[in-house]
């Protein structure tokens, strides 16, 4: 899932500036399950913005709406009227949602309420960890299901480096020290008697399939619909 967290309230208020009518748009998917931008969070943020504005004498009219998936056109169609009525749209979807709203409603002033951070999973209730770097060429099959691109601070393919100590990466301190990905890979492959997967030198990665190759795009010809008039 995409994991994000809310920007500090002070930053959000600054981004909204003097906008009088604000529409807070939440998303019902990833940001709901990481408790950053779902309906509950939209409600809380709406209250805080109204009260905050009132306290410093500026008075804002803030309403909230949450769509099931902010990245998809069809779900955004339903909020067109509310968007048109607002001076500013505060999207608390991930960065994709913010852009989807901006693309679909070109006249709207859209500001982000979240910092979208990474692709990951919950490690515990209230804790999320990064797991995937979206490199476009998954090598999990040869690393025992542990990703060195996402989980190794140096993205080593022939790790670990000399800084791995007691199963922890050299980066960070205390609780925030990540596990050494290569310790995990070694332990897993050893337990499964598959160390042969890492005894040969892994060659340099082709980064073209990753963000380094430029913004990416996937097309599935088998899914494309015949174009009908009026569809964007």
């Amino acid at each position: 899932m995409i994991v994000a967290e809310q920007k500090p309230l002070a930053e959000i208020r600054e981004l909204l500036g003097n906008a009088k009518r604000v529409l807070v748009v939440g998303c019902g998917t990833c940001v709901t399950v990481c408790f950053a931008g779902g309906a509950k969070e939209a409600g809380v943020l709406g209250s805080l913005l109204r009260m905050g504005a009132q306290l410093d004498g500026s008075a804002k009219d803030v309403s909230e709406v949450t769509v099931q998936r902010q990245c998809e056109r069809e779900y955004l169609d339903g909020i067109r009227e509310q968007v048109d009525e607002a001076d500013a749209v505060l999207s608390i979807g991930c960065g994709i949602g913010v852009q989807a709203i901006a693309e679909q409603f070109p006249d709207a002033v859209v500001v982000p309420g979240l910092n979208t951070s990474f692709l990951g999973k919950p490690a515990a209730h209230g804790e999320w960890v990064e797991r995937c770097a979206a490199c476009g060429n998954c090598l999990l099959g040869v690393t025992g299901g542990i990703c060195p691109i996402a989980r190794c601070a140096k993205q080593l393919l022939n790790g670990p480096c000399g800084g791995s100590s007691k199963g922890k990466c050299e980066v960070g301190t205390g609780d925030s020290k990540p596990d050494c990905a290569w310790q995990l890979i070694y332990d897993k492959l050893k337990a499964q008697d598959r160390l042969h997967l890492i005894t040969e030198v892994a060659p340099p990665k082709d980064w073209r399939t990753s963000r380094d190759g430029g913004p990416r795009r996937i097309v599935r010809e088998d899914l494309k619909l015949p174009s009908t008039g009026g569809q964007k």
């Binding site: 791995s164 007691k166 040969e200």
Partner: protein, 332 residues
């Protein structure tokens, strides 16, 4: 050994002739002053077969390894250029290597590099286009296949470096380290410099496994040693530096060295004397371990200790070689 592959590296020749090799380190300055490099080089001249020129060590910006290496070579040293994977992609690396060779550099040490959060530019983007093992392969490829990493042939002079890598015998997972060293041998590394050794028994065990795997037949291992400056330094290395193993006896010995000495200057001198003594003893023990082809003496920001340690450890003078194999241009 691989010195016959056309390198004119003095370090390669020393090892080829079976001498116990000595390398040391020179840390470039955090400014653009060549005189600082020259001054350090003069201290180190004659003490070692080759001198590593560090590359933005601990992710702190310093004069580049290649530039400082060229200056050091003018003072009569044979440099070992260091290159981390943190700061450069494969294009910049190969480009720098072409230039370094053209400027007379003959040895390169391939490193991952300390993470930039340790240094003075933690906000930087780190590169890690390739890792240290792939870098070894790439530099070996430039030499032995005369090709760039992409496979394209180098027309004209190709760089022919003596290629080194680092290994930490005390890093985790301990069991995997000898196998990882074997991978570096497969990648084509000619020599290895290890992290500082303070725990000799554990290092002995590591070397036993490495020799068993046949790794020492393919490359030369130089054990890392270094004089401790103070008990605080010893404690810091024991407690704060990941992957370092400093036994308590050594820390205690350093602490004991200063006990009963009131005068601060005298105490500092006593600490340093003990640090040097421990280092000299360590060298003596390491020489006896099968598979250890030399030492890599690290005395960062204490280059003055290098001539003292090498003298006392009876490593001086360094062997003279036939003129053809000497790589350094004569000093002006």
């Amino acid at each position: 050994m691989n010195a016959s592959n056309g390198t004119t590296s003095r370090l390669a020749s020393i090892l080829k002739h079976g001498h116990f090799a000595v390398t040391t380190e020179l840390g470039p300055p955090k400014n653009a002053d060549p005189e600082i490099v020259r001054a350090k080089a003069r201290v180190l001249r004659g003490c070692a077969d080759a001198v590593n020129i560090t590359d933005n060590q601990t992710a702190i910006v310093r004069m580049s390894s290649i530039a400082a290496g060229v200056i050091a070579a003018q003072e009569g040293l044979e440099p070992v250029i260091q290159m981390t994977c943190r700061d450069r992609n494969r294009l910049a690396m190969q480009s720098d290597l072409l230039g370094a060779y053209a400027l007379g550099m003959r040895n390169v040490l391939c490193l991952s590099g300390d993470h930039q959060t340790f240094g003075n530019h933690p906000q930087a983007k780190n590169v890690h286009d390739i890792d240290s093992m792939q870098l070894v392969q790439m530099v070996v490829g430039l030499r032995d296949r005369g090709c760039f990493q992409c496979g394209e042939e180098i027309k004209g002079d190709n760089p022919r470096f003596f290629v080194g890598a680092a290994e930490n015998p005390f890093g985790d997972p301990f069991d995997w380290r000898p196998y990882r060293l074997a991978k570096k041998a497969k990648a084509g590394a000619d020599f290895i410099q290890t992290q500082l050794v303070f725990n000799v028994p554990r290092f002995r065990e590591f070397m036993r496994r490495v020799v068993d795997l046949g790794v020492t037949e393919k490359l030369s291992i130089l054990a890392g040693v270094g004089p401790l400056k103070s008990p605080a330094a010893a404690r810091y290395m024991r407690d704060q530096v990941p992957g370092m193993d400093v036994p308590d006896e050594i820390v205690e010995r350093m602490e004991a060295a200063g006990r009963g000495i009131e005068d601060k200057k005298a105490r500092t001198a006593a600490y340093r004397e003990t640090g040097i003594q421990i280092c000299v003893e360590m060298i003596g023990e390491l020489r006896e371990i099968k598979g250890v082809a030399g030492i890599h003496l690290m005395a960062i920001e204490w280059e003055d200790a290098v001539p003292i340690v090498t003298e006392r450890a009876k490593l001086l003078p360094r062997p003279t070689l036939e003129p053809e194999t000497s790589a350094c241009p004569p000093p002006h």
